[in-house]
Symmetry: D2
């Protein structure tokens, strides 16, 4: 892969994914260095002329009224980064930290941060050498993730550990092995490293891509489950959904039609119910709401990936510096929490769908999808586990973005808890992997039982492949077996590439 060229304005979510998860390299666009130089010239000039600039020739937080001397800047930077190195366990995964570094680097290239060239190049070098600082996942209130991003600075100066080539080692050692001297922070460097929401944004980005993948798999499994039910899919037609005009719902319906193209569900069957339970009939509408929420999050995330959160900021055109509030991201936090809410709705919808599948009065199959009537427990007991996961999802869907405090002498009295919001949503996603996996068990079992009843079934274009893939891993339940292992196998299938590979490419 070619490196992603970063210029502060055009970073795409897909590129971020590549850098974070697939090791893609980055390169700083040439023009950026002029911008950085111009920015520094403006800020240092103004400071020299006596302008008081927060975090540059004045302290931060409650100390914002205290002057700093230029001669003390190197030591100030070191003290700042050490004292802001906070947070608690667990550590972030490497791909999450790579996303943070990529985001922060891109944002500083806008030229508003008074970053040195050397600092930008450190980020680039770390990304391209695969040097990944250890960053704790908890401890930031989210109006700038100063508590956590500081760990990146600690690695730059060699005072922390990094992952490198699959090993954990001291940053200074690893840098030496890569030919990178320990960094000496000067000017506003420490400030620049930490004054960003890159942690929350990286997690929000991961949430987006994981939610999109999970949602597609969920739709695929839903369609297969529909075939297990022998349900009525008339309400998914284009004409019907156009009448309503809700964007996510229309898109979700189209996706289902694609997955089900060619299915026996489109052939008339006098035994088919006129209408199915809403968890089936409206399933794609719920998926549509997740899509609508995702679009909202993606829109605001894209803006934040390519804009500055720095305070103060440099206005290149105006040749000025200014106090800002650009580190605020209440909309993104609210969007992430809305997305979590829609995922919890999806979760319960899946649970209710599965409960229907165990009930012969809806399926006209065996009770609990047992191999035959009176043949053991079938998929009965598993209800306990998916219901419990749904109860946890309901809990995780409760917002925390209004739980901020009056910190630093009351001055820092805002916060979004964006990282926490994203972490909670990611945990819902992980629980959903189990739920979608279990629905896949149900769907495949129901399809098999349906075949016993109706003879060979023509499944949809995509659902047939999904069915085959599931059955490769999990055979027909013909007797009681270890359900924990079965749940685990289903989960592994969902996180594997095998089902995902079946999906049509996203635009």
């Amino acid at each position: 892969m070619e490196p992603v060229i970063l210029n502060g304005h055009d970073l795409k979510l897909e590129e971020l994914y590549d850098v974070a998860c697939r090791g893609r390299r980055v390169a700083i666009a040439e023009e950026c260095f002029d911008r950085l130089a111009e920015g520094r010239r403006i800020m240092t000039g103004l400071a020299k002329d006596g302008k008081a600039i927060y975090g540059f020739n004045r302290g931060v937080g409650w100390n914002k009224d205290r002057r700093m001397e230029e001669s003390a800047l190197v030591s100030y930077n070191k003290r700042l980064i050490r004292s802001h190195c906070l947070g608690v366990d667990p550590w972030h995964a490497d791909h999450q930290v790579r996303a943070m570094m990529c985001i922060r680097l891109n944002q500083m290239l806008i030229g508003a941060a008074c970053a040195t060239d050397e600092l930008a190049e450190m980020f680039e070098a770390f990304l391209n050498h695969g040097l990944t600082p250890h960053v704790p996942s908890r401890g930031s209130m989210g109006d700038d993730d100063i508590a956590t991003l500081s760990h990146i600075g600690m690695a730059f100066i060699g005072e922390a550990d990094v992952s490198w080539n699959g090993k954990v080692m001291n940053a200074a050692e690893a840098m030496e092995a890569c030919g990178i001297p320990p960094y000496v922070m000067d000017q506003k460097d420490a400030h620049t490293i930490i004054l960003s929401n890159a942690q929350g944004e990286a997690l929000a980005a991961e949430l987006v891509w994981e939610a999109e993948k999970l949602l597609s798999l969920s739709q695929l499994v839903y369609c297969l489950d529909y075939e297990g039910l022998n349900g009525n899919v008339e309400q998914m037609s284009e004409a019907v959904n156009r009448l309503r005009g809700l964007p996510g719902q229309m898109e979700a319906a189209a996706e289902c039609r694609k997955f089900l193209a060619g299915s026996y569900l489109y052939a008339p069957d006098k035994d088919r119910a006129l209408q199915d339970p809403l968890s089936f009939r409206d399933g794609f509408c719920v998926a549509g709401a997740v899509k609508d929420a995702l679009q909202f999050v993606k829109r605001f995330l894209a803006i934040q990936l390519n804009s500055t959160s720095d305070n103060p900021c440099i206005l290149l055109e105006e040749k000025e510096t200014s106090v800002t509030a650009n580190f605020e991201s209440p909309t993104l936090a609210a969007g992430v929490e809305m997305l979590a809410g829609t995922l919890a709705v999806l979760s319960k919808t899946i649970v209710f769908r599965m409960l229907k599948m165990t009930d012969p009065s809806f399926t006209h199959l065996t009770r609990y999808l047992a191999p035959w009537d009176d043949a053991g427990f079938g998929y009965a007991t598993i209800m306990n586990t998916y219901a419990n996961l749904d109860a946890e999802n309901r809990h995780l869907a409760q917002p925390s973005s209004m739980d901020f405090y009056q910190l630093e002498g009351g001055i820092e009295d805002r916060g979004t808890n964006l990282p926490m919001a994203a972490e909670k949503a990611l945990r819902i996603i992980d629980n959903l992997r189990y739920l979608v996996g279990i629905e896949a068990l149900y769907a495949a079992q129901a399809v098999d039982l349906r075949k016993q009843k109706l003879g060979e079934l023509q499944l949809g274009h995509y659902t047939e492949k999904a069915y085959q893939t599931i059955r490769k891993v999990i055979p027909f339940l013909h007797e009681d077996r270890n359900m924990h292992a079965e749940i685990r196998a289903a989960y592994e299938l969902i996180i594997s590439d095998e089902l995902t590979a079946l999906l049509p490419q996203q635009a």
Copy 2:
């Protein structure tokens, strides 16, 4: 005012406001009657040809498999509307029910519902004669507000009370006085009345217009409060916010600049802090998040006001009927809950701002904004009340859209709780009226104390008028007085038109 012409596709929120709150009349666009007739022709034709149609020649809910005879339709309609007449207290305000009727009428004019002309004309007549059915506010799960909209049908057939000319009376009597005979429901009429989310949509519409009004007042008071603080507003400049690019934030900053145009805050003052507490500095960003959430809600609400939720629906072009899931509105419910979340964030931000205003270390004014030092309690005690209201707002911001059930034999296993979501958000709005009112007390007091200190102050173009309007109602606090009465006066000011009249017209 000219009547609003309804055609199923173009109803604007502003028009709905006029119909609901200002008694504006409605008129059904001529072309709609052709559409209705064509729809009925299609559905009855298909039914005659033997097609099973839910709610038409088949029962509803768990009874969906039961046949109905055409001869029994009148009695069936009556039984249906009576048995669906549910819900519990309190009754909705008249303007809310008018909004519901206007929405439901507009939706049925699309021609997808198999509505009779007479039914559409009943809605029109009720709206235009000012006949307003009593509709209970609680008891709907929100996937179609069948439990509550049914009360409109009960009024049509004369079996319930209505408000008319300021009196509550039996519907039949009131209709007679207006020359309207009691309605005889036939065909799918009862079904058509109730299969809509018009209750939830009407409440969401009210939420939008009340939130917009409240937010503008909050911004105005925030700006006046900023003048009371003698704070730094550099971060509100266009250039700084353009760098960030967040739409709500940019709009909110522009609004503040307009309100503060001409203010002494734009003149340099060496005693002004370099940066203010975030509740001040970032206040407009929080307002921006509310705006972003409002845009989301408005977008989806506009779609729903002008589309069909009917099931089954008639496809005019295809000359078909179809099962649908178009009564789903999970995105709108999620949006309303997101909006509630951002309002709770605004609430706490206002509280934290007010706490700063009581603290001389931020204001360099008296403790608690007392008239002079050692001069009594000032605005200290009032903290208890606004903190308690904020705690309630935090509670109200918790979502319920995932709390649905398996009803009607498990078939009706979806619901959005949209009406409840909107009611909770409206209650946050009402609590915010107190908070914004109290911030107005603080702001005016601080401005007066600031004037004592600095001499006459040049306030902003809009904030000066706001100050004058507040002081017309509430004088300078020069001694301890009944704070309950003062809070009440501030609240009345917020709901009055006096402050609102100062605001620039919304686009």
Copy 3:
């Protein structure tokens, strides 16, 4: 009724109920006046000797470091009560305010508050003349309900309204009519009026008595419903529950056995299920958990009704005054929230029980308890309404006792939100009245249908009377009718005395 003699140590919940709700008079025990005098002697003596005493010769809150002169006390008291007169709508009901006055009076008789005899006598006079101040229900954070109890003081000095003889009028006028001169507050009087949790405690007391009444009715209706089901009640036996040993559960089982004594359920029936759904089988266990939570609340409430929350307090034996933290009640607040949680569990259990009753596979009766098969909607549609009320209950069960703030310059940084906690729980109770009422509809209908099937049924000793009482108000559902009216009638039955009168007297 004899007046309740108050002495600061022996106030019972039942006596409080009589004073609050049944107009019972109070009398101050003679010995208390000695205690009050001794207390005042101690505090004034110490103050004269130069001891700094908060709220007496020093200010309150952030002003606690400011001295006050004795000569200024009358004016100080007036300013204090006015400035602490806060809160927002709605007003409390009269019986709630009577409870507050009775509690506060009793607490001050302990002698720790430095109350004047005259102040105690004002409380007594107001209670005995039926003069009831208007007190707002919202606006207190709950570590002392200063924001709301102050309104009682405002009435004492004639600066607020009272209810008297069913009318609302100015306090001074009403007092004059009763021959009571306006009160002149002196010494620590204003302080004494407000430094109490009497608002939260009064609401907690109401919660206890309403929850106990509701729970008993719920148990009675549950037993009748069980008879409608023809279920198995073996698990309610004394021997079985003694094996478990959980106190609330044992008590609830005994109550059910009493209600069902003589029932046909104790006769063998080969068609009866071996075990019923858990919402039936375990219903009394859920009621038992409510009882356990109630015991907890009652224990701590009883302590608080008869102890002092004053700060500073007078130690009569030690002849000292002391700073205290005795105004804290986090345990009571936590208990009220736990009780709310168990009520929400009860709520959902009732909902699930009702869903079973609509299902012929459990009841072997008609679908939805319709009068006969294919006979209309029966009790189907009503599900929407009770499910929605349960969703609201789930919301209301979320705690707020951790949502406190840093007020008054950061000094007042605790609060329990006890009044809000109790109000939320009371609203759950009110919603439960609907649910229990609707279960009564179901139960009576099922009993009638069961009789159609099995012939005359021998109901339990108490359940037979309950059945008769229900049927007096609501006839057998033999055709579709206005369900809203039916729900209302059921609710009225629950709040009436008719069903309650059937219950055995509580110990």
Copy 4:
């Protein structure tokens, strides 16, 4: 240590701790085997006489109407245990599983479960050989932890992994090494293994002992922090708290007096504030509420540890079997959630206390407890991290005990989510370890700064030792250093035995 003798009635929490965490052995009391034999005789006799017994000669769940043949019992048991082997990651820690086994064993010795002697001896053998099955922590709804306890059965029959001597290995292998043949389940064995709340009870037990330990440490650190503040502790006196009479508060005050005995705080100091912020003044009251909640949980937990949850159960005296609902534990679940709520209140109180310690207007020390004025960041930045942990605690304090479902054909429509409730509370505890650790940093730093100011300070008897212990690990903050490492060190101190060892022995 002597083995704990188990007889079904006398298991103490302390003994359970020893078995779970300290490897203590267990022994079955001799008399129990007679009881077991008698129980089996009763149940098999009744079954032979034709009585239908759930789970014995009838199926479970929805299959409860299906007959089972005695000849099929061995295979039935195997199928049952496999199909109920559910749940998802992560695995429980070994000590948690040991607690589950000890609890379940004790409960079955009551003789109500129809357990075989061999089954009881398997539990005993596993505990005494240190064989610990792997049990997943999530997936049980809590009305019997069938989904998770089943894994113990899987290990017994050799079909799962166990921990043994620090290694993970196949159960059959490990058993062979211990000389234990794989178990053959017969009769009701599988049923007996899983029909218990032992998972939830084990977690509740851990919660109790961890909460008690943490709370004592918190009290100790609070007292030291009070010395750092030079605050007024008058309100902790016995006389003052006796006046109030709240049990937890009185106990907490006594504990503080013990910790502070001999402290300079008891010597007069004219510079000491008259009253301190409530987070200090009322801190022990908040701890008292945690104690009250703990007592409630302990009371109900003790009952459950020594009683039967079996269904059906055997009534030895009555020589009968009976359907039961004894597997219900809604009170314990509600108590655990109440405890979580009080812990969240404690959490915020600690946060507010720490914020005061950074503020010179309260401490008269340096800003942020920096080594000297203008000396860097001090303990400022760390606020972000503890505020974020508190926000998470607030989230975790929200209840889930009302989130249960209608499973198994609607029959299993109850659940307490007890294991989830306990897990959430345990996570609050873990977050509190950080908060208490950070308060220890603050306290020690403030004490050192106070000494700089006042000269040598006489600390309390216990607080002096605490101070020394903290300073052994964490030196005075004399310059900015890595705060993440410092937080970690403080956390390690809290979980270590060093501070705990200072505490007086609990009764």
